[in-house]
Assembly symmetry: C2
């Protein structure tokens, strides 16, 4: 740390804050205070929106061409092989320099994927090799001999039991071979304060981290703040290479968007976290646009142009990934999740014109999976916005909605945003240790087979007493299931403890954390996969008189329910409460454990597209699900065809079931993905009525306590038609919502396309 | 960790253990058990010793030539600039290949210093630049941008207060800009077990590190054991490049020495710790030599040849160092400390012929500062050996002696060795966090001036109330002194906590620790500089009616005692107890602190040659010592000329005082360096009587509880003669003992030569 730049205070020769309402935000880093004192709520409709500017069209056409090349090259336009990515590792790059109002690329060439070895040199090399690039021997040498990486650290510390559980997929998708992501910097701070002020604040914090006693925790944090400080300096250097001095606050809308984007760019230049979300930027940027509009220095057309250009940049983010990663999270998602709308605790809404402008990019540039547009929904949001959101959801199948009433209540802030899919975080105040998920459907089978894996026949769990005989006694089973969940929770949390220790050690996210408070709340995000199959299996064992089929060694390998039994997803209280029991019991066991950095445990019901991989590795389950078939994603009720399986009572009953899940025990989010056949929304020639119906469905669902909804509006027939002719350019941008994100349909694996097609498309409410 | 090599057990086709007495050592790593069951105590005299072999003379002549070149190039024969040193980074190197019975160099060329950036890239670069080598830009880039180093980590976490205390030299010599060293692998294990067995043991340990709960401590240790495992594999690879397969146990004396040296070589190839001691290898190797002698496969001449060749290798160890480092630790010491002799708890001695052979290298190849030959002394050692040790001490002034009775009593083992100078460690069982020293003479001045530094005039300590007026009230002063010591102990320990956290993180000593038990005792070694001046100052304030001289701002800058007062070093109980009070009080404060990895705090009275630098930065002290003059080294009584200063009653009184110091509070060692004028030992024409007298002095000193003695036998006149004609080749190898190590006189700075000359050379007992 050099002292020179540190002691500078913000020079405001031209006063970039002129015209803003004063407040505490001027004296401390407090973006929310700035927003609340300065934003203009908008209660109107979408009629003010402007079309795409000529520059936007030129840039978008160019980008479409590059995307087409990328698609033909299996998702890889180009890759670096020997420049370890840092904030400042690349020269500036452009799409069409003279047309870009907002500049900045991850590397020096659009869509070129950077080389990021810190998460794991083997992963970085595998990403190269699997895409036909040659591994650079010098890089391999350096990052094996001189500079250790995250992945190697993790495997140095994993126990044999952890490796076994991982290999047998009872715990899957762990961020030990990819970046944990989900850490959102408050990128707005760059625009509001400029880098110099933020550096001065970090230096102040650094002076005050820890009392006199240097415990490891204090030493670690002091070093991290130093790293953050250097990352801020690097951001300035990087911005300067694009011709911008971001040491001082932004003074107009274009600068505000550009400064904010440089903050985000620093993150995506140096970290390939699974989810690289951008946070909640809408009302904040609207303040700058509104000021410029009022000053008469820009028009609405120009405002939309700036937003379109920013969003286009977010559509371009790419990371080098391995085939295993792509199998888990299909379609190249990077979760540039951007959270919109939401309410204030005082009952007003945070909706601005910018929330419209951002959604409008799906019209101006067509549907797109990224950024992952997320509406923080409440039935109390202005009707104009709710109507517009429903309209965009119906037209694009590209957005998701989360319950802002629950967010405010549980997170105690008006400034939450979604990291990744459904995972809430208070911007600048919280960080998250992301931890994938445990397969609780498979855990049912471990309970029956005494810890032996039904697929590999290996003894994975402790040698618990198996359940013997032809039928399963419910009470005996529940004792066994609890034993398995107790074991699994402990093993799972400790596996994550290893991962996050090593991630901090070898792949610390300095640029994101530089734009957050030094004194953070840390959450420890665990997850459950297969909740619906687990719940339905318990219901089957309780009420279905399940007959057990065994292999030659006596291992239970199939289950035949003799009687009907209620299932989760049909608004049946007993079945829905069974799902809640599993959730609450597992969360209780998670909470008992020691967590890294004394972080606060949370839990999600979310699988992303990994439900396919999970299912492939899970045998027949007592609910009737067949071995190898995908699990239902997230918190979705089961949808696989089967005698007794899944949701049977239509969309509203399904939503009612999901809404009953206890968010208190699943504060990392509850994901629900639904496809509505257009016909179910009313006469297809009355668009206004359809939008109105959809809005009412949303109002009802969220008022009942539903947490999240991915909305797809199309029929299964359309998907089947596309599936047969998948490379037809006319389907290039067709986007659908899967569990927690959106994806271009053609980017899914054939297997995942089949899974999506096999899901229920509700033809009735 | 690959599993393949891990599960191998030791193959003993030819049975390398044939002829050894059986024991527990065959079933577990237990070198001491092997030694006790197999060594042959030797009670005779030195008459069996053999002269240097022709090969030894050829090699030594060659090495002398290289040393001369090195001396003319200011201590640097050659330096690597762009090969970061690892165990396997260099091709094999030789002095004269066909003559070497024991092979292996740090780099590929004799005396060439390796490039070791992990401790700090800035230090490594400074070592290059200050010696006229060009810094390699690529290395600087890699180790600044991609691979952080220890030194940068430390400064990222240091508080402002730590920097200030360091800058003002109240705490000095901290291993934050050099490797901490002092960690001794049990290199004997390589010879006794071979690498494969050691790897299998480490894999077993790795499986059992930690229960299920992954705290940071457990994760850290699991990763470290993985690193150790890889270091063992690297040792095999390195040995193989020299044509040796060390996967299996050594089968004869030559192999035993060679295997052991390869273990040590792995350490010095990859780590430039301040002290790279080799441990206690004498009896162990004697077992192999004795077996070969009895089998008739070698002669005593050949045995001596092997030992001479090993010792010659230890004389060649060199590290690239900065001018600041050389100023602190003058004469290029590396502390290849080799501990000899010692007793068993059952009353027998561990003396073997090998202890004679090793001391005899000082005759066969002349005196030498390295290896730092250290006799673990007891009056109960066989007389033949005590006589020979006294003889060698007198003739070479190259050895030191430590009290083996105290070692056994306090460390509970027959297998302690000295790391560095006076710091005991149980081989393979203990490791040490070395932590330099606090200047308690300067602390006296801080107590008087209310935390203001007398040299820089900066407020360094807390703004304590200063002592005002012309005289100093003893009770008031003592309250203030305790306040300063309380503050200093806390700050000092926490500074060390930062250093060792970062050293483990960025410069972990995997090869040494691979040859130690996984479940270690860790000591936390603090130190005091200036004990004699502090004690004498307290005596002056108490009894000397000290008048205070102040500068224009009222700061106390000089002290004039009006009366005589007793001083430490003259067998005066009150003065000696004052030294003990300081020691005990400061150690008590050290013990109150949190220490890194819950290590056990220890303390040394040792300054090495840093007494000169400490003194340069310390103002006038109330005992009459003049500002800027060197402090007395280690636990030595003061010797500076001055009215009331230091030892006045001869050698025995001085030794009696030192022997009173409480080793319980200074288990990191108490260093005493004495120069005896040959005349004081009796008639100079009766060598036998002189040796006998010296032996009796040693017996008496150690029986009284003295801990350590550096013995020099020469007169001041000789030093003064050499100082005037320092580059005369006839003085090239003239070696003297300074505080804790030996040094070639000509390698000292002129300032340090003056300090040595000014010390008392006792002309009477």
């Amino acid at each position: 740390m050099t002292t020179n730049t540190m002691d500078k205070t913000v020079k405001q020769a031209t006063n970039p804050w002129e015209g803003f309402n004063e407040g505490r935000w001027q004296h401390e880093v407090n973006t929310l205070d700035f927003i609340k004192r300065n934003y203009t709520e908008y209660k109107g409709d979408d009629s003010f929106l402007a079309e795409a500017a000529p520059s936007t069209e030129k840039l978008w056409d160019k980008l479409q061409e590059l995307f087409e090349v990328q698609h033909k090259k299996n998702g890889v336009y180009d890759m670096d092989t020997n420049i370890p990515a840092t904030i400042t590792s690349h020269e500036p790059g452009y799409l069409i320099k003279d047309e870009e109002k907002i500049v900045g690329l991850q590397t020096d060439v659009p869509l070129k994927q950077a080389f990021m070895p810190y998460g794991g040199i083997n992963m970085a090399n595998k990403a190269l090799e699997s895409n036909g690039y040659e591994v650079d021997d010098e890089m391999s040498f350096i990052f094996n001999k001189w500079r250790k990486t995250h992945n190697q650290g993790v495997f140095d510390a994993y126990t044999d039991e952890m490796r076994l559980a991982r290999k047998n997929k009872i715990i899957t998708g762990l961020p030990d071979a990819y970046g944990r992501g989900r850490i959102i910097g408050d990128y707005r701070r760059v625009a509001l304060y400029g880098i110099d002020f933020l550096m001065a604040q970090k230096k102040k914090d650094w002076k005050n981290v820890g009392s006199k006693v240097m415990t490891n925790d204090v030493i670690q944090l002091r070093e991290e703040v130093s790293e953050q400080y250097r990352a801020l300096a690097d951001m300035k250097e990087m911005a300067a290479s694009y011709g911008y001095d971001i040491s001082q606050p932004a003074s107009n809308a274009q600068e505000a968007i550009q400064w904010l984007y440089f903050g985000y760019l620093a993150a995506i230049k140096s970290q390939n976290g699974a989810a690289m979300s951008i946070g909640r930027i809408s009302a904040f940027l609207d303040i700058y646009i509104q000021r410029d509009l009022e000053r008469g220095v820009i028009t609405e057309d120009e405002a939309q142009e700036l937003i379109d250009h920013l969003i286009m940049k977010l559509r371009m983010v790419k990371f080098a990934r391995t085939p295993e990663y792509n199998q888990l999270f299909s379609g190249y998602p990077i979760w540039a999740t951007l959270s919109l709308a939401g309410m204030n605790m005082d009952g007003s809404s945070l909706v601005t014109k910018n929330d419209f402008r951002i959604l409008h990019t799906l019209t101006n540039m067509g549907p797109s999976p990224e950024p992952n547009l997320t509406v923080l929904y409440s039935s109390k949001l202005p009707e104009g916005f709710r109507t517009y959101a429903a309209k965009v959801a119906k037209e694009s199948s590209s957005i998701q909605l989360e319950n802002d009433d629950l967010l405010r209540q549980h997170w105690g802030s008006d400034d939450t945003a979604i990291a990744c899919c459904v995972s809430a975080t208070v911007i600048g105040k919280d960080m998250q240790f992301f931890g994938a998920r445990a397969n609780l459907a498979k855990a049912v089978l471990y309970a029956i087979n005494g810890g032996v894996d039904e697929m590999t026949k290996m003894q994975v769990g402790p040698r618990f007493r198996p359940i013997e005989g032809d039928s399963i006694d419910f009470d005996q089973f529940m004792d066994s299931y609890k034993d398995v969940l107790d074991w699994l929770a402990e093993l799972y949390v400790n596996t994550l403890n290893v991962i996050h220790y090593m991630h901090d050690k070898y792949a610390y996210e300095a640029p994101q954390l530089a734009l957050m408070d030094t004194d953070l709340k840390r959450t420890f995000a665990t997850g459950i996969a297969g909740i619906s199959h687990a719940a339905d299996s318990l219901m089957a064992i309780k009420h279905g008189n399940v007959k057990v089929v065994r292999d030659e060694n006596g291992l239970a390998i199939d289950y035949v329910p003799q009687n009907e039994f209620p299932t989760y997803g049909n608004d049946n209280d007993e079945a829905d409460e069974m799902a809640n029991w599993i959730l609450e019991y597992f969360m209780t066991q998670i909470k008992r454990q020691h967590t890294y950095r004394d972080s606060t445990p949370t839990l999600s019901l979310l699988t992303i597209t990994s439900n396919v991989v999970y299912g492939k590795n899970t045998g027949n389950t007592p609910d009737g699900r067949r071995a190898g078939k995908p699990l239902a994603p997230g918190a979705n009720p089961s949808y696989q065809d089967g005698k007794f399986l899944g949701e049977k009572n239509g969309l509203l009953a399904s939503l009612n079931s999901t809404a009953k899940l206890n968010y208190s025990c699943a504060q990392d989010g509850i994901s629900d993905t639904q496809t509505i056949n257009p016909g179910a929304l009313g006469r297809t020639d009355d668009e206004e009525m359809q939008i109105d119906n959809l809005r009412q469905v949303l109002d009802g669902y969220f008022d009942k306590g539903g947490y999240h909804l991915n909305v797809n509006v199309f029929g299964r027939e359309l998907l089947e038609e596309m599936d047969k002719d998948i490379d037809n350019p006319k389907y290039a941008n067709f986007t659908i919502r899967v569990s927690g994100y959106a994806v271009k349909f053609r980017d899914l694996t054939p297997e995942q396309r089949r899974d999506v097609i096999s899901r229920t498309d509700h033809t009735r409410m």
